[in-house]
């Protein structure tokens, strides 16, 4: 197995007494697509800032491309591409100019940056917007421009912090398609997300994080197999009646999860569980059978939903 490009051991970041990241350990192999899945405030962004060599760790060990970010920050950053949670494109510059100035930061000569900028605008499907003002772009286009900017130095690792948060479904799918192409080309991707579908689509392997700690680690399918049943039956009885219905449902399926708006029944077969529900004399307002997802894994591990 090739040497990992990122190795974190007991990585901790404290702000005064608060531990934003509380002793997490993971490795990322070259070419891998690795995710940190967790709700807002789980410490994902803080971890990304440490991996991005802009924030120093409080304790633990961290190696990026074999180097310690405390000592070799600029050298590490020269081979990273960073897509931050908040776009920080220069709104005073035109679209293409944003790529030109950014390429210079890596010491690339003007001619090379110009060539690369045009290729990346093509890749980001923004060639026809090259001369547009950044503020005139849609949210999805800004995101794609930020990704193009992050690729200007042909990075060995691309860090994406919540790449599709705030985008509409169509814009998300365009972005996923672009990221998937990068993955196919062998770019190492490290991304954080609180969307389980995003994690399932893009990550070869992920860690589930909550309150600065890792709750579970593995491939999406394996995590689901390990921590959840094959299927889930979702039934709704109306806000005030879910609790009462849950008492009657005891023993249906492998496990029940009562949420404010619905009850989740974890079972091998959702249809069979639904039959059992009606047999017990209950008539749900709506029912839905679906496959288990990472959302269920998170719920199982933390007792909370990802998006609250």
């Amino acid at each position: 197995m090739p040497a990992p490009v990122i190795t974190a051991t007991d990585l901790t970041k404290k702000y005064k007494d608060f531990a934003a990241v509380d002793g997490i350990s993971f490795e990322v192999a070259p070419g891998e697509s690795f995710g940190l899945l967790g709700p807002n405030g789980a410490g994902k962004s803080t971890t990304m800032r440490m991996v991005g060599a802009v924030s120093t760790r409080t304790s633990g060990d961290l190696r990026i491309l074999g180097l310690d970010p405390d000592e070799h920050g600029p050298a590490i950053r020269s081979q990273l591409g960073v897509v931050p949670q908040q776009d920080n494109l220069d709104t005073e510059l035109r679209v293409r100019d944003n790529l030109l100035v950014y390429g210079r930061y890596f010491g690339l000569p003007h001619s090379q940056v110009a060539k690369r900028a045009d290729e990346l605008l093509e890749f980001a499907q923004l060639s026809d917007r090259a001369k547009a003002k950044v503020d005139d772009l849609s949210g999805g286009m800004k995101r794609r421009l930020t990704i193009a900017r992050a690729l200007i130095n042909d990075p060995r690792i691309l860090l994406l912090d919540e790449p599709t948060t705030g985008l509409d479904p169509q814009a998300r799918h365009i972005l996923w398609d672009r990221l998937f192409r990068l993955k196919e080309r062998g770019t190492t991707l490290v991304l954080t997300t609180h969307y389980m579908d995003e994690a399932e689509q893009l990550c070869d392997r992920l860690v589930v994080v909550d309150k600065g700690r890792i709750m579970a680690e593995g491939r999406p399918a394996a995590l689901i197999r390990e921590h959840s049943s094959r299927e889930v039956l979702e039934v709704r009885f109306g806000s005030d009646r879910n609790e009462g219905a849950a008492a009657t449902l005891a023993g249906v399926g492998d496990r029940l999860e009562v949420l404010p708006d619905r009850i989740l029944v974890y079972a091998q077969s959702g249809e069979e569980a639904l039959v059992e529900v009606t047999k017990r004399g209950l008539e749900p307002i709506t029912s839905l059978v679906r496959r288990s997802s990472l959302e269920d894994v998170f719920l199982r591990l933390t007792g909370r939903t990802l998006v609250e």
């Binding site: 924030s55 600029p74 920080n88 005073e92």
Partner: protein
């Protein structure tokens, strides 16, 4: 073949600050027209209003030397205030723009560029902007007949040094988390009184003694007096001229270093 990170970042390590300056120059292109119009229009208006208009009301000597016209007296100070204006604008809005409003500094810092290089590059950019403004100012001063010796050229660096001495303002701006109109207060409570009481349009000695200290701490007074030495001086002992230069340079360097420290703390917390 992959290039090692250390090799890859070597150029950024050496030239990083310049790349930041380059970025800021490119940003400026968007409103270059406004900047140039201001840089040309302001000196014409001010020199006309003070040097020609107000001067008609002023008879007798203004400086310690006979034969110095009011235009000659006021022009170097106006040039210095123009440099201060440019510098303070960049040290306040420019800094907070990069850290907060249009967080380009955060983006720069995600590349090999360090917080120090960001500040160094910004400072260099301010120097260049001041150079353009003061040079235009100087040329217009010459056109108005406010300079008659080649020594006068040195009012350009004198004015720029005055602007640079406001670098502590940049260090302060780098600590602002929430914008609650601090810059407007700074303009009205610090910069404006300094402009009025720094011997800009009348000699400091005209002020009551208990107000003259304002001039002594004001970088603008030091820069104006320095400029005057080159336009019609020397009118003061050489040690005082040296003090002007040292005082301005020290203030500037302290501000610059504190600014680098504050920006690093903020970006790398």
């Amino acid at each position: 073949m992959t290039v090692s990170p250390l090799e890859f970042s070597a150029k950024s390590r050496r030239w990083g600050a310049w790349y930041v300056t380059e970025h800021k120059i490119r940003q400026m292109r968007g409103f270059a027209g406004t900047l140039i119009a201001t840089a040309i229009g302001t000196p014409i208006l001010y020199l006309f209003a003070f040097g020609i208009g107000l001067a008609t009301l002023i008879s007798g000597n203004v400086g310690p030397v006979a034969g110095v016209t009011y235009l000659e007296f006021v022009a170097p100070a106006l040039l210095a205030s123009a440099a201060v204006l440019v510098a303070v604008e960049e040290y306040t809005f420019g800094i907070l723009l990069g850290l907060k409003w249009n967080a380009t500094y955060v983006g720069m810092n995600a590349s090999p560029i360090t917080a120090r290089q960001i500040v160094d590059g910004t400072m260099l950019f301010v120097v260049l902007r001041m150079f353009v403004s003061t040079t235009i100012y100087y040329l217009i001063m010459v056109a108005f007949g406010a300079v008659d010796s080649a020594w006068g050229l040195l009012t350009i660096p004198a004015g720029m040094l005055g602007g640079f001495a406001f670098a502590p303002v940049a260090a302060y701006a780098a600590t602002i988390e929430e914008d609650r109109g601090q810059f407007a207060i700074l303009q009205r409570v610090v910069i404006l009184p300094l402009t009025l009481f720094s011997g800009t349009v009348f000699p400091l000695t005209q002020l009551p003694v208990f107000l003259q200290w304002i001039g002594w701490v004001s970088p603008l007074w030091h820069a104006s007096e320095l400029g005057r030495q080159f336009v019609y001086g020397p009118t003061e002992p050489i040690w005082l001229t040296v003090i002007h230069v040292v005082y301005l340079a020290v203030l500037g360097v302290i501000g610059w270093q504190l600014c680098a420290r504050n920006v690093a703390r903020r970006l790398n917390k």
